[in-house]
Symmetry: C2
Subunit: 309 residues, 2 copies
Amino acid sequence: MILTVTLNTALDITHRVPSLRPHASHRVSEVAERPGGKGINVARVLAALGHEVTVTGFAGGTTGRILRERLADVPGLVDALLPVEGTTRRTIAVVDETSGGTTQLNEPGPTVSPAEWSAFQEAYAALLPSASAVALCGSLPPGVPVGAYAGLLRTARAAGVPTLLDTSGAALRRGIAGRPDVLKPNADELAELTGSHEPSTATRDARRRGAGAVVASLGPDGLLALTPEGRWRATPPARLHGNPTGAGDSAVAGLLSGLVDSLPWPDRLTRAVALSAATVLSPVAGEFDRPAYEELRERVSVQREASAA
Amino acid sequence: MILTVTLNTALDITHRVPSLRPHASHRVSEVAERPGGKGINVARVLAALGHEVTVTGFAGGTTGRILRERLADVPGLVDALLPVEGTTRRTIAVVDETSGGTTQLNEPGPTVSPAEWSAFQEAYAALLPSASAVALCGSLPPGVPVGAYAGLLRTARAAGVPTLLDTSGAALRRGIAGRPDVLKPNADELAELTGSHEPSTATRDARRRGAGAVVASLGPDGLLALTPEGRWRATPPARLHGNPTGAGDSAVAGLLSGLVDSLPWPDRLTRAVALSAATVLSPVAGEFDRPAYEELRERVSVQREASAA
């Protein structure tokens, strides 16, 4: 199975309002709710692709209970979340139907106790022998040490399990020391990590900091990958119009899917870009449009670039 | 016991953010969550005053389950909510810590089926013989007929139970035909009902439309009451600074409390204004500050006004 780790799971709520005006009262015209957090999103895409996938991390309180009930409805997904005393956070995306803009409210997440963090590390180590790959995704909840991902990456390396890291800020800066096999930053995260807004320079710098391969997601410009086997740029066939929510998580799922299927890098990138684009095109935020995915797989462009590394 | 009806119960969530900017992403610095809907708020205040109180209305889905779990923790409050197939709404109040302003997002509430509405009417009729007063509070969820309150008021009248109605819009316009013993509109609701922004004129008009007594809450100006026994203005001792959330619900609780204790109107109004003011002064939104309440009861001014009615 593929293991995805989401230490700060979330119940993702989407509210549609005709027009958001600060300090006013709004009737929400439409409500959607689903389990979230990056690793959960990645797992859902992997399960839809037919992979066996296990999710771990923390869930607690009433929102944690709702989250786990919803996860039980996802075929092919195994819930190995650990209970915590605190309450799983909600994220609320308020979509303004007039402007199309989204205002995001993210609760902080439960405070994880030292005992809960120890229990997680044990449970994680026990899951690794069954894992063909592990993805460590998203923010750290309060109480989890900022170097958490570095430790989890080392445990996976010791168990011989390939790793992918997708996080931001201090968790990324400290996590990269654990030498992930694949680092999947977006343009902002890459610039924050390296201080460079030039993707070629920044991916090289990120790789020097400890990542085996760096796959940077550049929004509509697709992916830029710097790997031990070479450097590629993978782009969708055309500018896509739609909702980019979850596109990065779908790219992670594509990379993991290609990794466990032992595909060469260009084919992994094709899968990642097609899934990501099919997510932008889906009418439901964070889902991918399967016919679009099948069609896009034939039309993604992967160009080998001269490596200056 | 006092019966409060909340057909559109809610799970009230408060998010504090440093500053709310549309189309931006925000970390919520503080989260609070509690059972809500006007009748639930009224019941919580009544229970805190030592009254036996029963809440009825609808609750459903995961939010309904959380709501009922939280209600079970309120001493003196009996939960007689009916289950519905749909999901109880959330309301989200986003408090901007810089401006102090609140942006409100209200989910629509579950769609109540005709069978569920019939079941409610039966359960309500069965509760009335034990009730010393009944308050019908708040908005109607989708599926409940707009004339619902008129019917519920007539059932209570037939059972000899005194009634209070606190709602707005069409539910108020149609509900008043059921001749509530007390109507408790705020200034906006009163103006919308009568077309007059002049409280004396508007309360007279509202009374002519069918209310036994009209007690208008005029924010910092206190209460204006037009009753069969006369007309009074009740005001707090000074301009209050604080959070007015729930002040109107506390006023309703004060009126009901005074009614079941058979107090004369001036004393009911004193209780209502003191509770309302003590709610504004409380550091926790919607709670009342008990020492402030005890102190304010001595200092509320109730002036009899010449009635032109």
